[in-house]
């Protein structure tokens, strides 16, 4: 569905996105585009949504270059960052215009407006002006305008900014529902928690470079410079004695009632740990991975590339 081949973007002398290569397969699902402010997320989205041509390399969406390509643009929906909309306008009138710009007309247009307002939970509030809407409601209308023509690819740039927790959860549920129905969703954020809640599949950008692509465990496995940390809770002395005999051990530190071990290859050590605990030879009550989450992966990757 999406493929970038050494695609880069320059704003004059400033490099917005370094030559980047990756592919997203066809079919539904959510992919998180993660990175701090200035990482190049918006640049990448501008390339994918056909707003700008790449300065170098090649961008393909649905097999074609998206820049000024009506065929591609009619198959994707974009929700840019921000929640400002012309205050005096009624949402349904605005949606009708956007639907017409997508090529809908007549009865199909009317049905699309009703359907999409229902999808975003605004069926009875479409007649309101934007001035009378909350931030969350405006964000839903922005999402609605991108869904009018039932796009196969939905691109959202920082959609959760400024939303309260309830609105966030509602929007996340809505995106999951769309993904289940077959829409491929690419959502950018600089907040790890949001992406972690939404999807396991991420593209990680930092300073205009794509650092990693894949699921969190997949990426974590590739970070062999950073051994995985496991906290084993139980009888600390006995656990430490067992741990030092393991060839994968990289580091060990004692805590009260627990021992934290760093291991290079958790896939090898975990079966042995499981076996020892099952045989009763290891006084362990719990085991917690400390850095197998997105936050840790992000920290390691950005530190390594800083």
């Amino acid at each position: 569905m999406i493929s970038l081949d050494r695609a880069s973007l320059r704003y004059g002398p400033i490099l917005g996105l370094s030559p980047t290569t990756f592919e997203l397969p066809d079919g539904g699902g959510i992919t998180g585009l993660l990175g701090p402010n200035g990482a190049g997320k918006s640049s990448l989205l501008q390339l994918l949504s056909g707003l700008l041509p790449p300065s170098g390399g090649e961008v393909r969406v649905f097999g074609e270059a998206p820049f000024r390509n009506a065929t591609v643009l009619s198959r994707l929906g974009l929700v840019p960052e921000g929640d400002r909309l012309p205050s005096g306008l009624r949402a349904d009138r605005w949606l009708r215009m956007m639907a017409e710009l997508s090529g809908l007309s007549g009865e199909g247009l009317k049905v699309a407006v009703v359907r999409v307002l229902d999808v975003v939970g605004m069926a009875d509030r479409g007649h309101l002006t934007f001035a009378r809407m909350s931030k969350g409601m405006r964000q839903r209308i922005r999402l609605a305008q991108a869904l009018m023509h039932e796009p196969e690819l939905l691109i959202l740039d920082e959609p959760f900014n400024g939303l309260d927790p309830e609105a966030r959860l509602t929007l996340m549920a809505l995106l999951r529902d769309l993904a289940e129905k077959g829409t491929r969703i690419l959502v950018s954020s600089h907040i790890l928690g949001e992406i972690a809640q939404l999807t396991d599949r991420i593209l990680l950008l930092f300073r205009g470079r794509l650092l990693a692509e894949g699921s969190v465990p997949e990426i974590r496995q590739l970070l062999d410079r950073h051994p995985v940390e496991l906290r084993l809770t139980g009888e600390a002395q006995a656990l430490a004695r067992w741990a030092v005999e393991q060839p994968e051990l990289a580091a060990l530190r004692m805590e009260e009632g627990a021992v934290v071990i760093s291991v290079r290859s958790p896939r090898d050590i975990l079966p042995r740990l499981q076996k020892a605990a099952a045989e009763g030879g290891l006084p362990i009550r719990a085991m917690d991975p400390l850095d197998l989450n997105l936050d840790a992966v992000f920290q390691y990757l950005t530190k390594d590339h800083a």
Partner: protein, 286 residues
């Protein structure tokens, strides 16, 4: 883990509607129609039109009614029927119309800049040239639509009341319509170009008024310093008033043909170029 669905539902039937430029123009007209500013200017221009039509009717009465025989000579003096009278039919093309173009046109592009609407539009199958065409079309069609009854109604009334010997020439619309078209495109391009340089609709109004009055003042100053009358062609207000004079053949138009052509071409070209540059996709920020 990501959730994959095997297939997508059938896509809706797209590419059935009107061209994007027409959709955007219709949207701008509908928005203006709902605004109070549209009603105010509608009333003001209607009053002016009624005054013109009433004047032709009074002229007709003075010409035909025996009771007014004593004032007929006086009427002939004050009710001119020459080229100046024909050109004057479009006199709303002066300050009130410019003011309306500034108020409405100033926000045309600036509003979309303020609310970041262009990225949304360009992410649909809308090319920058569609957007520009829509804005230029709306900003030019608006003054043209306002001027249209000023050219046609007095002509029609004159024709009905007095036939070919009425105060308005039979050929007046043939001369006034091209003049109106040129003046309207001049106004529209200047308004859109100025609006594209502004970040808010209010600033857009300021830009339009500033450019109109500023270029006019500049032209007057240079004229005063050099004595070169042709430089008045830089003044957009004078240009808009000159075109009807040129087309109906006024003896002493405010600006001659060649400077008027050059001045109008310069304004339309320059402001369209500015608007095109300022509404490129690279100018929008997601």
């Amino acid at each position: 883990m990501p959730i994959y669905a095997p297939t997508l539902p059938p896509a809706p039937d797209l590419h059935q509607g009107q061209p994007p430029a027409l959709v955007l123009m219709r949207f701008d007209f509908a928005r203006l129609w709902r605004q109070k500013i549209g009603r105010f200017f509608g009333f003001a221009f209607l009053m002016m039109l009624l005054w013109k039509v009433a004047r032709i009717y009074v002229d007709h009465l003075l010409q035909t009614n025996q009771a007014f025989r004593s004032v007929q000579d006086f009427a002939r003096t004050i009710l001119s029927q020459g080229a100046d009278f024909q050109a004057d039919l479009l006199n709303p093309a002066s300050y009130l119309l410019w003011f309306m173009v500034a108020l409405v046109g100033g926000g045309l592009v600036a509003r979309d800049t303020l609310y970041r609407v262009r990225p949304l539009m360009y992410a649909h199958p809308v090319a920058p040239k569609d957007y520009l065409l829509a804005k230029l079309g709306f900003a030019s069609a608006l003054p043209f639509a306002i001027l249209l009854p000023f050219a046609l109604l007095p002509w029609l009334m004159s024709l009905v009341l007095a036939g070919t010997s009425g105060p308005v020439w039979v050929t007046a619309p043939l001369r006034l319509l091209p003049a109106m078209a040129l003046s309207s495109v001049l106004m529209g391009s200047l308004a859109v170009g100025a609006s594209s340089m502004a970040a808010t609709p209010r600033a857009g109004i300021g830009w339009v008024l500033g450019l109109v009055l500023g270029t006019g003042t500049l032209a007057s100053m240079i004229h005063g310093l050099t004595g070169l009358q042709a430089i008045d062609a830089l003044n957009p207000i004078l240009l808009a008033e000159t075109w009807p004079q040129l087309f109906v053949g006024v003896e002493h138009p405010m600006v001659a043909w060649l400077p008027a052509i050059l001045g109008t071409a310069l304004h339309i070209g320059l402001w369209t170029f500015v608007a095109a540059r300022r509404t490129r996709p690279s100018e929008v920020v997601i």
